[in-house]
Symmetry: D2
Subunit: 247 residues, 4 copies
């Protein structure tokens, strides 16, 4: 592995997608700054990255707090120039609109949209003066479609997509690649497997075909391919799904 004097910040470095993104960019020689609500849960990721010869800094991070986002990204940038900031916090909930409390609606927005705005803006502040950088946001089916039961989640994800679009249009000409990755499928996580079990039964889960879920590693690869795009052919949005997915 060739070390690069550049950092990659992963905000929302969860056990699946976020962790895989961190491992991928670490394996490519970047120093990772990984943040999640409870930083202690990052220990296995740190161990895995370091065992593979990578460098990673793990932090507890409440991304809804402006000062925490600012100091997290500033720390990364002080370590080495912040090359990529990936915002990967989800907050997938499903409630009929009549059962959606104002507290849930607000909290989902704070986690999935507001904190994404803060992350994008603070990353841009560090990148604009250098005229270089990449800001990526994780989207979902609910970024494009307000399905039944998704008033809160789709509202937040739509809002995050708007932030990505405005940022892409403002920052692209400044050589900062802003992209929104729409994961239009279930990802293979414990949580998704649990939902399938709930809805379709243990048997359906046991027989889950290989084409049904997306590996978290595939998401990490998609981010890597966005990062590899030459600047005369940037995607501002990329939509991915498994080959067997109905859509």
């Amino acid at each position: 592995m060739q070390k690069r004097n550049k950092t990659v910040a992963v905000i929302g470095a969860g056990d699946y997608i976020g962790g895989e993104i961190a491992k991928k960019f670490a394996a490519e020689g970047f120093t990772i700054f990984a943040g999640r609500r409870n930083g202690a849960k990052l220990e296995p990721l740190v161990a895995e990255v370091e065992a593979a010869g990578g460098e990673i800094h793990a932090r507890s991070l409440d991304a809804r707090k402006e000062e925490e986002i600012t100091s997290f990204l500033n720390d990364a940038d002080k370590h080495a120039p912040l090359e990529v900031c990936i915002f990967n916090i989800g907050a997938n909930v499903n409630f009929p609109i009549l059962d959606t409390t104002e507290r849930v609606f607000r909290k989902v927005w704070e986690m999935a949209c507001y904190s994404g705005f803060l992350a994008g803006r603070e990353a841009a502040r560090l990148m604009v003066p250098r005229g270089q950088g990449n800001i990526f946001f994780t989207g979902a089916t609910a970024s494009l479609r307000g399905g039944p039961g998704y008033a809160a989640f789709a509202s937040a994800k739509f809002g995050l997509r708007a932030v990505a679009q405005a940022a892409a249009r403002e920052l692209g000409p400044k050589n900062i690649h802003v992209a929104h990755l729409v994961i239009d499928s279930g990802v293979d996580t414990a949580w998704v497997r649990e939902r399938i079990k709930e809805r379709e039964g243990a048997d359906a889960l046991a027989k889950l075909p290989a084409d049904r879920l997306m590996r978290p590693q595939a998401v990490a690869e998609a981010y890597w391919s966005l990062y590899q795009q030459p600047r005369d052919a940037w995607s501002s949005e990329m939509e991915i799904r498994p080959f067997g997915e109905k859509w």
Copy 2:
């Protein structure tokens, strides 16, 4: 004018679009409940509606407060069954993303998205037991496109559109028509004329062609046509613009 024993709530009954909606539905015999931040500013509207033989109840309403929305809509519904709830609060601001404070981002969302969610949900609570009603939301170009400078505004408007979509899918089968009206143009208001003057000069404003701006009355007519749709041919979204608009 034939009186109807039904109420129409206009949340965001401003001097232009909201006021015209109120006048239109009042002229069609509905009792209007009109709310805006500073209820005192509703006096001219009340005078105009009453002079024309209509009935209107004007209220100060901070639509970001759940309890105020609830009591506003409950009062309307106690007066006579709430037939239509129109959410018409905008919060059009334009700032480069780097200059968008967390306070602005949050406030625009509270005004243009969060309060729309509250209004839609509370209206639905009153309408669902009756199996009858209409919930309409005012959208804008920024509901569909995150243009430069619109990180905050587009994020809120995208989010409101998602609420409308989820609500339409959940409530349509319950005979409640949920629609999102996208006004893809400038509307003829003092504020818009001022923006044109700022950007293009007093001369351009003076020579503004008739086809450039949309009359607030035309928006009211569009809402009326949505209300007139038979239930086997509902639009969940309608986009309107002047004939001379470039898009």
Copy 3:
């Protein structure tokens, strides 16, 4: 009924949607020019319109032939100024792409897209010099989504939608309202009922709930509402579906 010295051309005046459009505009006092492949099949429509005191001219029309379209619209315009041209020819087929012959692909395009282009262009030629007119196109779910089995049909409907968009942008500033009406549901026709029977059984058809299909009259009403729009609030596209439709 107040007679108007204006004509409405309905290209594709079939037994359901096209016929209802003709009846609606005839009832509003317009003289109808109705064309369909086999003009003899228009006799019941003519009888019904005339019994109601309306005026209608029925013609055999192969809309894929430029000279036929031209003379059909010219005849209408000679009778009285052509106020509205509605293109309503469908060609709904569903074949796996591997089973879609080049003949089917071409024929569906000629019926559903190419003839629509001819109709729109020829109507525009008559309307542009007067600076007045309306050109409406009937779209479908397949106008927006290339579903499985719809390579031919969706390709034609996508293509027609592009014609409508280009025409709307070119002709709007010339005071010609071009609109594309997306019927996102099954319409209550013999053909659709037969499809439901095939796919879901005779029992399902017998128990078909009232909210499942759209009445052809509702489509005619949607066109009428498009025609009623003031020119500072035109829709270039309108999507309609029954209240119980899943989408």
Copy 4:
């Protein structure tokens, strides 16, 4: 270069995009089958590919003729299994709708849509039995938007996109990756440079900033990245533009 026993067919192997796609896949070890209207014009491409150690078979191909498409793809597949089929024929014309002859409308469709359908279907026929393959289509801004003057071109490109969508949904579960690449910008070709000169003057062309046009090589790279996607994270559509593009 490691040789692979697989062929890549490029239909529309023009001097710019198509040629670069051929060179890229040849450099990756695939045997190229390159077709364009006038096969003699492929000589420089053949020379370049062979000089670099690649293998390429050049053919005259009128892609609007079913039997030519069939035999072109069959020949490729006989040589070695057809791994990728890329349809890259454009037909960019701009005429006001009133000046769009039926001949132009039909010809543009035959070149840009109908021949794409033929190519996709024939490639699928070869790939489906093996349960393996990739079918890619080149799209443009006009695939998504019917701009003024683009009735013919956008209609064809919309239609091609529908073919790609239907094919993606039908063939994805059969392990065939169908994707539509939207090039939302000018590409650096002699033709585009000529158009810029016409519209903006020789001076503007001389001072053309580096961020304005996309290199044909960047398009080839985008296709390569689509080909590299793991099958649990396929994009069915990818949109690319230069960093400085306004959209």
